[in-house]
Amino acid sequence: MFEPFYISFKLASITVLILFLIALPLSWYLSQTRSKIKPFLEALTALPIVLPPSVLGFYILVALSQNSPLGSFFKETFDISLVFNFTSLVIASCFYSLPFMVQPLQSGFESLNKNMLEASYLAGKSRLQTILFVALPNIKPALITAIIITFAHTVGEFGVVLMVGGSIPGETKVASVAIYEMVEIMDYKGAHIYSAIMLGMSFIVLLSVYTFNAKHKRKFGL
C-alpha cells in the first residue's frame, strides 16, 4: 500500500546524491568566480523555481522522447527508453531540484572568510582538499539545508513527475501522484492518510533542519 512512498524516497535519495555531485563544483565555481557569465549561470540554475512544472516537464519530455536525438541515441545504443520510467523521473528531478541544492551551497561558500580559504592554499592544499576539509565542514548548516530541502522538494514534486513519468504503479507512481489519483476516484480516506503522512514528515524534516542550524550556530558561531 505504501509503495508510492517507497518510490518517492528512492527517487529523492538518488536525486540528492546525483545533484550533490553536480552542484558541488557548480556552486563552488559560482561562489568564487568574478566572470561575466556568472549571472547567466545563476539565472539558468534558478529557472526551475519560477517555471511552471508543466513547462519544465514538457521540455524534458521533448528532449528525452524517442523522437529526439538524445532519446533515439539511448534507444538505439542501450535499448533504454528515457521517458515514462524511473530513469526519466531521476533526470527530471535533477533539473527540477537543482536550484535547491546549488543556492544554499553557493551562499554558504560565499559567506566563508576568504582569508581562511587562502590560508588553506598557502598551507599547500589543493582546491579539492580545501573544499572538502575547510569549506564544506564550515558550511554545515548550508550543506544540511541543501540536502534536506532537495530531498523534501523532490518528494513533493508533482507536475513534472506526472508529465515525464506518468503514473505507472511500482515504477513512476510517487506519493504525490497517488494522492491526486485517490482524490480523482473519490477515495478520500486514502487521500487523507497519504496527505497526513506527507504533511507530518515535511514538518519534521524542516523542524530538524532549523533545530540543527540553531545548535550549530551556538557551538561554532558560524
Partner: protein, 286 residues
C-alpha cells in the same frame, strides 16, 4: 637570497598607479614594510605569496617563483602568511589547525609551547581571544618552516600588552627558524623593536629603503623631540592663535603667533617639536 623585481597596475581609490618594487633581501633579514594605506603594501605581500598576479621576477633561494609570466602556485611556495584578522580553520581545534598544514606533531607541540598555547591546544578558534587567535595563526604560519614569513599587520587589532607579547614571540620564532620575515606595520615602536631594515612605500613606489634606525630616527633640523599629528583647528584668541593638534590618541593645544599660523592649513599633517629648552618627562597619570 631573495630578489624581487615586480610591477603591477593597481586601481585604488586614488586612481590608477603602477606598483613597482625592486628589492634584494638577505636570508634571515627582518624587514618592515610601511607607508600610508593604499600604498600597495598588502598587494606586494600577496604577490609574494602568489595570491595575486604581477609582471616581473621573484627569485627565492635560486628558485623562480615568478618569471616570464610563469607563476609558482601559492601551494608550492615556501611561505608562512599571517593575515590581519584571524584566518584560522574554524572547524578544527588549535592543534588540528597546525597539523593540517604539516603532519608534524613534534613541531606543532614545540611551537605551541614556545607561544604558551599548550593548554589551549584542544580548544576551537571560536572560544579564543583575539590575541590567542593570532598566536595560533603565527604558529600555523611556521608549520611549513617557511623560507619567507609574511605578516600583514597581524597585531593591529590587539591591545598594547598583547601586541608587546606577540612581538617578542614573532622575533623569537624568526630567530629560531632563521626565516626571512616581512612585516607590514604602521606602528613605529613595533617596527623599531622587530625589524632591522625598513622599506617605505608611497604611491606604490619604494621611497625609502634603509636601516630601521636611520628611517625612524629621522633627524630633520636639530629638534630634541618631535611628534607628528593632524592640525584640527586654528582658534583666534586675542592676539594669538591656538592650534589644536591631534597626536595619536591625544589632543594638544599650541600657542602660535599670527605670522606662524599663516602658513598652516587645517586638516594637514604637522610636526610639533621643540629644541630650545629641556623637556620634562613624566608618566601620564591614569
Amino acid at each position: 637570497m631573495i630578489h624581487i623585481n615586480i610591477s603591477k597596475a593597481l586601481h585604488g581609490v586614488k586612481g590608477s598607479m603602477k606598483l613597482e618594487v625592486n628589492l634584494n633581501i638577505k636570508q634571515g633579514e627582518f624587514i618592515a614594510l610601511t607607508g600610508v594605506s593604499g600604498s600597495g603594501k598588502t598587494t606586494l605581500l600577496r604577490i609574494l605569496a602568489g595570491l595575486e598576479e604581477a609582471d616581473g621576477q621573484i627569485e627565492v633561494n635560486n628558485i623562480f617563483w615568478l618569471k616570464n609570466n610563469k607563476s609558482l602556485k601559492p601551494q608550492k611556495r615556501s611561505i608562512g602568511f599571517m593575515h590581519q584578522e584571524s584566518a584560522l580553520f574554524l572547524n578544527m581545534s588549535v592543534l588540528q589547525n597546525l597539523l593540517f598544514v604539516q603532519k608534524d606533531l613534534e613541531l606543532a607541540l614545540r611551537l605551541l609551547s614556545l607561544t604558551g598555547l599548550n593548554e589551549l591546544k584542544d580548544r576551537y578558534p571560536k572560544t579564543l581571544s583575539g590575541g590567542q587567535k593570532q598566536r595560533v595563526s603565527l604558529c600555523r604560519a611556521m608549520m611549513k618552516r617557511p623560507a619567507i614569513l609574511l605578516l600583514d599587520e597581524p597585531l593591529s587589532a590587539l591591545d598594547a600588552k598583547m601586541r608587546g607579547e606577540l612581538q617578542l614571540q614573532i622575533l623569537s620564532l624568526h630567530k629560531e627558524f632563521n626565516t626571512t620575515t616581512i612585516l607590514v606595520s604602521h606602528d613605529p615602536s613595533e617596527i623599531y623593536k622587530l625589524s632591522t631594515r625598513t622599506v617605505v612605500l608611497e604611491n606604490a613606489k619604494v621611497i625609502k629603503d634603509a636601516n630601521t634606525k636611520e628611517v625612524l630616527l629621522k633627524s630633520q633640523g636639530s629638534q630634541k623631540f618631535s611628534f607628528e599629528g593632524e592640525l584640527l583647528e586654528l582658534q583666534e584668541v586675542d592676539v594669538v592663535i591656538i592650534a589644536i593638534v591631534a597626536i595619536g590618541q591625544q589632543i594638544v593645544e599650541v600657542v602660535l603667533s599670527k605670522k606662524e599660523a599663516q602658513e598652516l592649513q587645517v586638516g594637514k599633517r604637522v610636526i610639533l617639536s621643540t629644541k630650545a629648552f629641556a623637556p620634562t618627562i613624566l608618566h601620564p597619570s591614569l
